[in-house]
Symmetry: D2
Subunit: 408 residues, 4 copies
Amino acid sequence: MKEKIGIYLIGAYGAVATCAIVGAKAIAAGLSDERGLVTSSELFRGLDLPPVKDFVFGGCDLRKTSVLEAANEYRQRNNLLPTELLKALAPELKKVNDNIGEGIALGAGATILKIARARQKQNSVLQEVEQFRARLAKFRKDNKLDQVIVVNLASTEPHLDVPPEYKSLKDFEKLMRANAAEKFVPSVLYAYAAFSEDCAFVNFTPSLASGIPALTEMAEKLRLPHSGKDGKTGETLMKTVLAPMFMARNFKVLAWEGYNMLGNRDGAVLDDPSNKRSKTADKDKALRSIIPDPDMHTRVSIEYVPSLDDWKTAWDFIHFEGFLGTKMVLQFIWQGNDSMLASPLALDLARLTAFARRKGEYGPLTHLACFYKNPMGVTEHRFDRQVQILEKYVEKHLAGKKNKQVKK
Amino acid sequence: MKEKIGIYLIGAYGAVATCAIVGAKAIAAGLSDERGLVTSSELFRGLDLPPVKDFVFGGCDLRKTSVLEAANEYRQRNNLLPTELLKALAPELKKVNDNIGEGIALGAGATILKIARARQKQNSVLQEVEQFRARLAKFRKDNKLDQVIVVNLASTEPHLDVPPEYKSLKDFEKLMRANAAEKFVPSVLYAYAAFSEDCAFVNFTPSLASGIPALTEMAEKLRLPHSGKDGKTGETLMKTVLAPMFMARNFKVLAWEGYNMLGNRDGAVLDDPSNKRSKTADKDKALRSIIPDPDMHTRVSIEYVPSLDDWKTAWDFIHFEGFLGTKMVLQFIWQGNDSMLASPLALDLARLTAFARRKGEYGPLTHLACFYKNPMGVTEHRFDRQVQILEKYVEKHLAGKKNKQVKK
Amino acid sequence: MKEKIGIYLIGAYGAVATCAIVGAKAIAAGLSDERGLVTSSELFRGLDLPPVKDFVFGGCDLRKTSVLEAANEYRQRNNLLPTELLKALAPELKKVNDNIGEGIALGAGATILKIARARQKQNSVLQEVEQFRARLAKFRKDNKLDQVIVVNLASTEPHLDVPPEYKSLKDFEKLMRANAAEKFVPSVLYAYAAFSEDCAFVNFTPSLASGIPALTEMAEKLRLPHSGKDGKTGETLMKTVLAPMFMARNFKVLAWEGYNMLGNRDGAVLDDPSNKRSKTADKDKALRSIIPDPDMHTRVSIEYVPSLDDWKTAWDFIHFEGFLGTKMVLQFIWQGNDSMLASPLALDLARLTAFARRKGEYGPLTHLACFYKNPMGVTEHRFDRQVQILEKYVEKHLAGKKNKQVKK
Amino acid sequence: MKEKIGIYLIGAYGAVATCAIVGAKAIAAGLSDERGLVTSSELFRGLDLPPVKDFVFGGCDLRKTSVLEAANEYRQRNNLLPTELLKALAPELKKVNDNIGEGIALGAGATILKIARARQKQNSVLQEVEQFRARLAKFRKDNKLDQVIVVNLASTEPHLDVPPEYKSLKDFEKLMRANAAEKFVPSVLYAYAAFSEDCAFVNFTPSLASGIPALTEMAEKLRLPHSGKDGKTGETLMKTVLAPMFMARNFKVLAWEGYNMLGNRDGAVLDDPSNKRSKTADKDKALRSIIPDPDMHTRVSIEYVPSLDDWKTAWDFIHFEGFLGTKMVLQFIWQGNDSMLASPLALDLARLTAFARRKGEYGPLTHLACFYKNPMGVTEHRFDRQVQILEKYVEKHLAGKKNKQVKK
C-alpha cells in the first residue's frame, strides 16, 4: 500500500514554500512538467521515490495570509504563476491552508517580526515547543499521514553565538527548561520539536536548526534522517561549479568578488546585518574550502534592491593568474528567480528524505550534499563531486532493487 | 641516467610556441614559477615527470623570423613578456633558433600562406614528407636526444572533406605516392612524418593530424603514443565546466550563444570561413555531447578584432528554463590571454606524453582528455569527469611506484 | 472643437502595434500610467498634443488574426500584458479589429510571406495601391476622422537596390504604371498611397518608404509631414548616447562590436540575410557618423534566438585607447523588451505628427531625429543633441502659444 | 614672449601625478601622441593653449621616493609605462625630482599617514602653511616661472564636518591662528597657501580644498581662477552620460546599483570608511541631480581589491521601468586604468587654467564642469550639456581671437 507523506513547511507563506506548493499542485493537475526537479531527471528513473503529486502539504508562518494570497502577491511582483494557473489550482490551495498554523516567534529577531507584522508572545521556551509539537501531531492525525517531513524554508535568522549548552542533548534540554530565551533561535526549537514528533528534518536555510551537536545526537538516538544547511541555488552553486576548474588548471585565484542583489522578503531580512552574517558565512566557506589559498581576496556582498523582487542578480568578478604571471578575468552574471530555483530543490529533498526514511537510513544524509551550501557531515564542496555521491547512492539502491527482483 | 627529451614545435614562431619556449626558459632560469602548468600542481607531486627546464626545443614554421623577434613582437602587442625577462633569456632563445626550420606549405591554404608571407613549393607530397623527416632526424641527432615529441601548434587548417583513403594506412600511403596534393593538409603529413621518425605526436589544434584512422593505425602498429585534438583553453573549457550543472539541476537549456573575439594571427586565419569551419565544429560538439537536447539553440561565433591581439574575449549567453517554465539567464565574460592559456598546456602534454612513452604506453592517450576540446578515443566531455580520469591515471602510477619501492 | 485623429498601423497584428494599441487603450481606461511615452514627460507640459486616449486605431496586416489574439499570444510568450488587463480591454480591442484589413504582399519577400502564411496576389502594382487607398478612405469615413496618420510598423523588408526611377515622382509613377513589380517593396507603395489619401506618414522601420526622393518630393508638393526611418529603441540608442563621450574625452575607439539577439517575429524575418542587410546598415551608420575614424573596427550582428521572444539582448564590447596608448574596455548588456520600447515611441511620433500637421508643418519633420536610427533630413546622430533639437521645437511652440495668449 | 608655466602637483609621487609627468615628458620627447588629452582634440584647434611639453613640474608628497621609482613601481604593477620609455625619459624625470618637497601631514588622517609611512609633525597650522608657501615660492623662483598652478592629486582625505568658521575668510584665518588643528584637513591649507602665493588652484580630488566659502571668497578677492572637485574619470562619467537618456525616454529608473573595485593606493585609502564617505557622496550626487526621483534606489560601493592595482573595474546595474510597467535592465562594465584616465585630465585642467588666468578670468571656472564629478558653481551634471558649456567657451575665445586678427 502506498505511503501517505506529509510535508510540513516552516515559512509556509514565504515565496519558496508558495512556489513549492503551487508547483506540486500544478504537477498533480497535469498543468506543469517536472522540469527543475532534480529527482525527476533521468538519473532517478526506476527508483521508487514518492511522487510529488501525492504530497500532503501543511506548515506554519509568522505572517497571517493564505497560500492563494501569497501566490497572487508573488505573481504580481514577479510576472510568474499565471492567473489561469492559480485559478485552476485555487480549490487545492485553499485545502492546504487548513493545515497551516502559527510559527515560533521566540528568538526570530526584530527584523523578521516587523516584516511578518508578528510579535513575540509571552510563552516560555517549553511552551513554544509544546504548542508546535501539538500542531505537528494534529497535521499528522488530521491527514492520516504515514510520515511527516519538516522542511525549514523560513527567512535567515539573526546570528547567535552558539551557547556551550548546544554541545549535548542533555544540556540543551536543561537550557530549554531553564527558559533561557535569549539563547534560542526558532530553528533549533523547530528541529527539536520535529524530532520529538518522529519527523525527519530538512534545513534549507542558513539557520542552525538540526545541525547543532545536541540535535545531531537526538537524530541519531531516535534514528531519524535529517539534512542541511542552506540550499545551494544560485551564486554559490556557480562558485562550487567553477572553483574546481581554477584548481585543475593550476591557476592562482587572486580575487573572487561576489555581489548579490535581491528584492524579496528574504532580501529585506538580510538588510539586517545580524541576519546577513549567517548567510554570507556559508557562501564564503564553500569557496574557501575548494580554493584554500589564504592570499585569495574574497567578498560576498548581499544587498536589498526592492525592484528586483525575487529576481536575484549576482555579478562575480574572478581575477586569476596563469602562466608567467599573466592576470586574466572571468565574470559571470546570474539572473535567476530565487524561489523558482529553491522550491523544486525543497521538493527534491522531501522526496529523498522520505525515501531514505523508508529505507531505514538515519542521521545526516550526506548523499544530499549537492543540495546545500554547507552540507552536514560532508567536507566536499565541489559540485560535480557532490553530484557523484548522489549518483552512487542512486546506483546502490537501483542495484539493490534489481537484486531483490532477481531473488524473487 | 636522465633521459634527454626534445620538443619539436610545429608553428614554432607562433604566439603559443613562443610563450611555451620563453616560459620553459624562464622557469629554467628561475625567473618564473610554474603557475598555470597543470603538471606542476599538487596532484602530480611524486610522479617522475620530465622537468620542463630540461626540454630541448626545436621546430618549424612557414614564417621567417626568430624566437626572440617573435617574443618581442608579442610583448609589444600584448604588454606581457617584460623587456627585462627577454633580455635575460636572449642567449637561450637564440640557441633554440638553431633548431628551427621550414614547415610544410603543401595544403596550408591561401590565408595561412599569405599571413606567413610564404608560398607553396613545387615539391611532391613524398618530397615534403621526406624533407620534414630529415629535419626531425637532424634535430634528434644534433641534440643527442633520447626521445622527440612533435607538438602541433600551427594555425587552424582549412576544412578538408576527409578522403576515403584516410581510412587505412595502406590507402593513405598509396594516396601519398599518387601525389594527390589536393587531398592533403599539412597536419596529416606532419603526423605521418613524426611517426615515421619514431616520435610521439601531440595535436593541440583542430586540424586532422594523427586523428585520422590511417594514422591511428600507424601509431598502434609502431607503438607510439599520441593525443589530440584542439586544446581546451577558454570558452569551451567554460562550457564543459558549466554544462553538467544544467543537467544535474534538470534545467532545460533553451539557448547557448557564444560570441568569441580575438585579434592574434590565429584570429586572422579564422577570418577565412574554411579555416573557421574546422574550429567551430569542435566547440559546438563538446556542448552538444553534454546536453543532448535537440531543441537547444546554439551558436559559436568567432570574430577577428585586431585591437584585442592575444586577449581573447568571449561572451556566452545561456538561456535556461527551470521550475514551472521559469526562464532564467546566466552570462559569462571570459577575458583570457590565448597564448598564456595554451602554452603551459602544450608543455603539460609534452611532459605527460614523454612520461607515457617511457612507461611503454601507446595509441591515443585517453587520460589526457581534459586538455582537449575534442579528445581522441574518449566520449566524455564533462571537464570534471575528465579531470578524474587523469587523477586516476596519476594515482595508478603513484601506486605502481610505491609498489616498486616496496619490492626493493 | 477637438480634432478626431486616426492612427493607421501597417503591421497591425505585429508585437509593436499590438502593444501600442493595448497601451493606448489601457491609458484610456485608466489602467496604466504614461511612463515610457516621451511626449508625456515634463518637457511637453503645456503643449496641446492630441491625447493618446482619443486615438482611433486601424490598420492592415498580412497575417490573419485579431488584436486580442495577438495580445494573448504576446502575453503567453513574454509574460507581459496581464490576463486581467486584456480581459478588461477586450471590448475596446475588438472594436479596433473592425478597422483592420489586408496589407500589401507585393514585394514583401518570401520570408515575410511564409511567416505571415500569406501569399502574393495577382494584382498589378496600381491595383495594390488603389485597393490600399480605398481601405484608408474607408477607415477615415467610417470613423469620421479629421486626419489620419499612417505608421509603418511592419517587419523589415528585403533589401532592394534602389531603382533610378525612384529619383523623381514622375518616373516613380511611370514605373508603377509599367507594373515593374520586381522594382517595388510594400513600404514605398504604402507611403505613396498614404500621401495620395492626404495622410501623414511615419516610417518606424528600416524600409525605404517615404524616404525615397520621389516620395519626399510628393510630400513637399502635397504639404504633408512625414518622418523616418527605423525607430531608435535599444542598442543603437545606447551607441548614440555613448559614442559622443569617447569623442569628448579624445579617446580612440579601436573596436565597437555589437552582438544583438532577439526571438520575435522580427528576429525570424531578420534571419533572412536580405532583410537583415537593411537593418544592420542603419545601425552602423549612426555610430560611424559620430566617430568618423576609418580605423575603427565595428560589427553589428543580429541573431535569431527563439527562446528570447521579444526580449532583445545586446552585448556591446567597446575597446578604446586613452593616454599613453592605454587600452581600456567598456561593455554593456542591454536587456529590453523590444515592443515595449518601440510602441510608446510610435505613439509619440503619431502625436507629434498630428500636432505638426495641425500647425501646418510639412516635409521631413527633422525635430523628430531623436526617435530614429537614421533620421530623415538630419545629419546629427548624437542622441543628446537630437533631444535638444526637440526641446527647442517644443520651446518655440510653447513661446508661440504664450504670445497668442498674451495677444488675447 | 612665451609664458613659463609651473605645475605644482600635490601627491606628486601618486599614480595620477606620475602618469601626468611621464606623459607630458613623453609627449615632449615625441615618444607619445596626445590621445586622451581633451585639450588636444579637434575642438581646441586654433586656441592658444600652453603646450603640455613646456610645463615645468614640481610638487610635494608625504611619501619619500622619486618620480622614476614611482614610475617603475607603477610599471611593475600595471604592465604599462614600458621600460624603454622610462629609460629614455629618466634624465627628465630626475630633474623633476629636484622640485618635489614634503607635503602637509596635519589632518591627513591615520590611514594616509600609515600608507605614506609619514607622520604628523608638531607644527602649528600656521607653520604648516608658511612652510608650504615657502616651497611654492622657491619652486617659482628656482624655475623662473611666470605663473604656477597648484593641482591637488592627493588621496581622498577623511571626512570632516565642515566647521562654521569655514563660511568666511576672516573666521577661517582666525581659526588658523587659533591653531585648531582638528578642524583642518590638508586640502584647505594647500588651497589657502596657493592663493596666498598667487597661484591658481585645481582640485582634482573629492577633498574640500578651495571649494569652501572662505576660500571661494579669497579667490574672488585675489582674482585667482580655481576649479574642482573630483575628476570625473570612470563610473561617474558613465552615469552622467547615461542618466539623461533615461529621462529623455521617460523611463523610471527603479534602481541604479554601482559596484566599484580598485587596487591602487587610492583604493587602500578608501578602505578607511571616513575617507570613503567623501568619495561616494560625490558619486551619488551627480546621479541624483539628473534623476531627481526620490523613489530611485541607488548604491555606490567602492571596494579595495589589491590584485587589480590601478585597473578600476565597475559594474553598474540599472533597473528601469518603461511602457505598461515593463521592467528592463541595462548593465555596464567599465575596465579602465584609473591613473591613465585621470592624468590627462589633470593636464587639461592645468592648460585651461593657465589660459584662463592669462585671459584675466578668475573665480570658479564653471566652463570646466565636464571634468568634475561635483563641479564648483555649476548645477549641470549631464555630461553632454557640460561639454557644450566648454564648447561655447572655446568658440567665444576663438571668435575673440578672430576679431582681434580682423582688427589688425
